[in-house]
């Protein structure tokens, strides 16, 4: 069964620190890796995504680092703000060729940013 593993389950950082959220996967056919965030009472929303042609993707304070050899990828949130407090889900899919855009999600990391 395809799996995406996510750690830690919960993470608390102080305002201004960098939060690091980690994921790993098993299936070598995965080739698209998005991160979603979910605020309480809301549905998940796409935050940032990467394809393995590159090992880094930046969007403002959010950066994905990707290690294809170790099948790991991480989300770094620089200068964390209280408004970043949410649950973050990593995911993976076999995006190439359009045959299966189904996302397999990790179990989530609940991030709390303290001020």
């Amino acid at each position: 069964q395809q799996q995406v593993r996510q750690s830690p389950q919960s993470l608390t950082v102080w305002e201004g620190e960098t939060a690091i959220l980690n994921c790993s996967y098993e299936d070598s056919t995965f080739d698209y890796f998005p991160w979603y965030h979910q605020f309480p009472g809301e549905s998940p929303a796409l935050l940032i995504a990467i394809r393995p042609v590159s090992n880094k993707k930046e969007d403002g304070r959010f950066t994905i680092f990707f290690n294809k050899r170790e099948k790991k990828f991480s989300l770094h949130i620089a200068d964390s703000q209280p408004g970043d407090s949410a649950t973050y889900f990593c995911a993976a899919s076999e995006d190439s060729g359009g045959s299966n855009a189904k996302l397999t999600f990790g179990k989530g990391t609940k991030l709390s940013v303290k001020s």
Binding site: S43, P44, L46, A49, A91, D95, A101, K102
Partner: protein, 114 residues
């Protein structure tokens, strides 16, 4: 753009009753996905339509769950003989084309089976 619309937002059913959940994808999006979210299991894939055709229903409990997409503007998820373990938030998502995994999720239907 109203986004992905799911109705009802909340549904309470008695054990053994039927529940039908509705989803209206974003206009022009050709891929529709159904997921179930619980605290314990997280986000679980149920089923997926591409251009209204069922593509992958590998996540569907076969005996009581069914999904349809009769036209490009709506999809339904039907649960027969609901059980307490079916209680969850059911999320519908759509994406612009079959090769795109960038989902837009709806607000979800919170199903409670008592």
């Amino acid at each position: 753009n109203a986004g992905v619309i799911q109705t009802p937002r909340h549904k309470v059913t008695g054990k053994g009753q039927e529940a039908t959940l509705w989803c209206e994808p974003i206009s022009g999006h050709s891929a529709v996905f159904w997921y179930r979210q619980t605290i314990v299991q997280g986000l679980e894939f149920l089923t997926y339509f591409r251009n209204q055709a069922p593509i992958d229903d590998s996540g569907m409990p076969k005996e009581r769950f069914s999904a349809q997409m009769p036209n490009q503007s709506h999809s339904t998820l039907k649960i027969q003989s609901t059980q307490p373990q079916d209680s969850a938030v059911y999320l519908c998502a759509s994406s612009p084309d079959p090769e795109n995994s960038d989902y837009t999720f709806g607000s979800g239907t919170r199903l409670l089976v008592i």
